[in-house]
Amino acid sequence: MTPTVPPGRLRPVRNRRPAWEEPPTAAGQTAKGAVLTGVVLAVLIPLWVVLVTSVSSRETINAAGGLVVVPREIDLSAYRIIFSGGQITQALLITSLVTLAGTAVSLTVTVLAAYGLSRPGSLGHRGLLFYFLLTFLLYPGLVPSYLVVTGLGLKDSLWSLILPSALSVFNLVVVRAFFQNIPGELMDSARVDGAGEFRILWRIVLPLSKAVIAVVGLFYAVGYWNVWFTALLYIDDNEKFPIQRVLQSFILAGLSPQQSGTAMGTALPPTLAIKMAVVVVTVAPIAMVYPFLQRHFTRGVLIGAVKG
């Protein structure tokens, strides 16, 4: 991953030590270097080992006695197997579908509600805002939510992975804060020219908000990609398992004997390379959108945290 500019340029650029600051001590520099190296390696080593093992041949894995640290060759047979149809391919398709549809639904609802709540003084504004924000204080328990979702007949429907968590009020607040920072004169002049609110949202507000929409959309997308527990609750059909659910039954089955066997049905125990390849394809989309996310998320988080 290439180093990027610190997100949001939070601090003034300060590449040189100010004159008044004492020169660094050797011990201090060493300690700092050790800390930074430590945290970076703690993240990178697992990623590296998993990636290398996933492209290793059976012989290399056997020679290493399991996980491979030093790559010998690039053998993509594990990837060929998981993409050749079968449960993992299916799970990847399902998860992609849920991610795309879910993000579209979430963004639509969030943007509409954020704009609808962006003008203090509009009809019902205070009450509606209260209705949305109250969800931060009061939340339904697991059991009643489960009863409602199953009662609606969403059991084993992919909508059960999308609808219950489609709207994040936190994201709504972030987008709304952004909309409120757009100069009101822009909207007013459009209104004078006869544009309705939908037109203003589509033609003026959205083009000015591409960055925040992109970030919120990516956050939603990562959330849908990571969906696991809701699938455990509502999806019993193997054919509809999202990838995290499959990953769980692959990798953690060894960890917890009680859960093994049930989820995978008749599939043969996968070889280590295949397991690691599943991990890699689960990480890959996140790693791919991550650079775009990182450029903006600090700002987004701060809008939410500081401006309320």
């Binding site: 991953m1 180093p3 990027t4 610190p6 997100p7 939070l10 601090r11 590449n15 008044w20 600051e21 004492e22 201090g28 700092k32 800390v35 945290v39 970076v40 703690a42 993240v43 990178l44 399991g66 609802v109 509600a113 609808g116 003084g121 509009s122 009809l123 509606l128 805002l129 204080l137 939340y139 339904p140 328990g141 059991v143 009643p144 939510s145 489960y146 009863l147 009662g151 609808l163 968590s165 709207l167 607040v173 804060a177 990562v222 990609w225 527990f229 455990l232 990953l247 769980q248 990798i251 060894g254 960890l255 917890s256 009680q258 991990v279 996140i286 790693a287 991550y290 701060l302 939410g304």
Partner: protein
């Protein structure tokens, strides 16, 4: 964090008591406003409906906590709700007499406390170190790497830990080849507290630094310069300028954590509970899950969930009051 003063601020443009002369002045103001604002209401509608169905409706559904709820009565959950017998506080009596419940409460609280001591200060420390790094490229690189695991699911995080530290993981593999019996890490109930904290640190250490880095960037550098000229060394500057500068953020985060004391990473514990055993790994959220959906005893599970929600609400309100007492803005403003 969620609703600051900005949200509850009075309308930016106060509406005059008598609206500007509009042609049809005899209309009730509410109808005029409806005419003007109906598109806004239409836009809010999908969100209102979603929250109603998946948030407020289940909240009403908490009444099953007072029932011996039987999902097989009637042909729909609603019918089952109407036909299930009421048991008053019976579920709560059973709940409070259940030692497994108190084990779960104890586990939850001890994990919260442990992480408060051993996790909470780490992002502050890392933020201080990062902030002192002069090279922008190095700092950017480290940030890029350490923020990444925040976006991984718990399934992935636990998977990485299993592959590194588990019985068939990298560490065991290397130790075995060196002729050492590998320690049991992933399945040892005695060290589970440390393990889950390590996982949480791995996932969110970097993410936690963001808010502190932002706070650090707002500290006036002239303060450092002035105190350095006055002879304050590195540590005294940290103690007297940096940490007081971070105080509002630290207080706010501590208070938010207090409001959330009964929630520890649910998926994290659910994933590992069976491997480690209920005794160490059952927390309130997993208790609710295993007592209700896994076993079908919905009324009892709902009672446990309702208990958690009520205590959580009280904690949030207390935390917010504390925030005001500390002179901070709190989670929501008091208007």
């Amino acid at each position: 964090m969620t609703s600051g003063p900005a949200l509850d601020a009075p309308p930016a443009e106060p509406k005059p008591a008598t609206p500007a002369p509009v042609p049809r002045r005899r209309r009730a103001p509410i109808r005029a406003r409806l005419r003007r604002d109906w598109p806004m209401l239409v836009m809010v509608l999908p969100g209102v409906l979603l929250l109603f169905v998946f948030h407020y409706l289940p909240m009403l559904g908490n009444v099953v906590a007072f029932q011996d709820y039987n999902p097989y009565l009637g042909d729909s959950p609603l019918r089952a709700l109407l036909e299930s017998p009421w048991v008053g506080l019976g579920n709560f009596q059973v709940l409070f007499a259940d030692p497994a419940f108190w084990d779960a409460v104890w586990n939850t609280l001890s994990i919260t406390a442990f992480q408060l001591v051993f996790f909470f200060p780490l992002p502050i420390a890392l933020a201080l170190v990062l902030n002192s790094v002069l090279s922008r490229r190095l700092r950017g690189f480290v940030q890029t790497v350490v923020y990444l695991p925040h976006f991984f699911s718990w399934v992935l995080v636990v998977t990485f830990f299993v592959q590194m530290l588990g019985g068939a993981g990298l560490l065991s593999q290397e130790l075995r080849q060196a002729g050492i019996t590998p320690p049991e890490i992933m399945t040892n109930p005695d060290t589970f507290l440390v393990l889950v904290t390590a996982e949480a640190v791995w996932k969110d250490l970097g993410w936690g630094t963001i808010v502190f880095l932002a706070a650090l960037s707002t500290i006036d550098t002239h303060l450092y310069e002035a105190s350095a000229v006055d002879g304050a060394g590195r540590w005294r500057r940290t103690w007297h300028i940096t940490l007081p500068g971070l105080r509002p953020v630290i207080v706010l985060l501590l208070i938010l954590r207090l409001g959330d004391a009964l929630s520890v990473g649910f998926e994290q514990f659910l994933l590992q509970r069976d491997a480690v055993g209920r005794q160490a790994a059952e927390v309130l959220d997993t208790f609710v899950y295993h007592q209700s959906i896994a076993t079908g005893d919905y009324g009892f599970g709902a009672a446990a969930g309702l208990f958690k929600a009520v205590v959580g609400l009280v904690l949030i309100l207390v935390a917010n009051r504390l925030a005001h007492a500390f002179g901070e803005n709190g989670v929501y403003s008091r208007s």
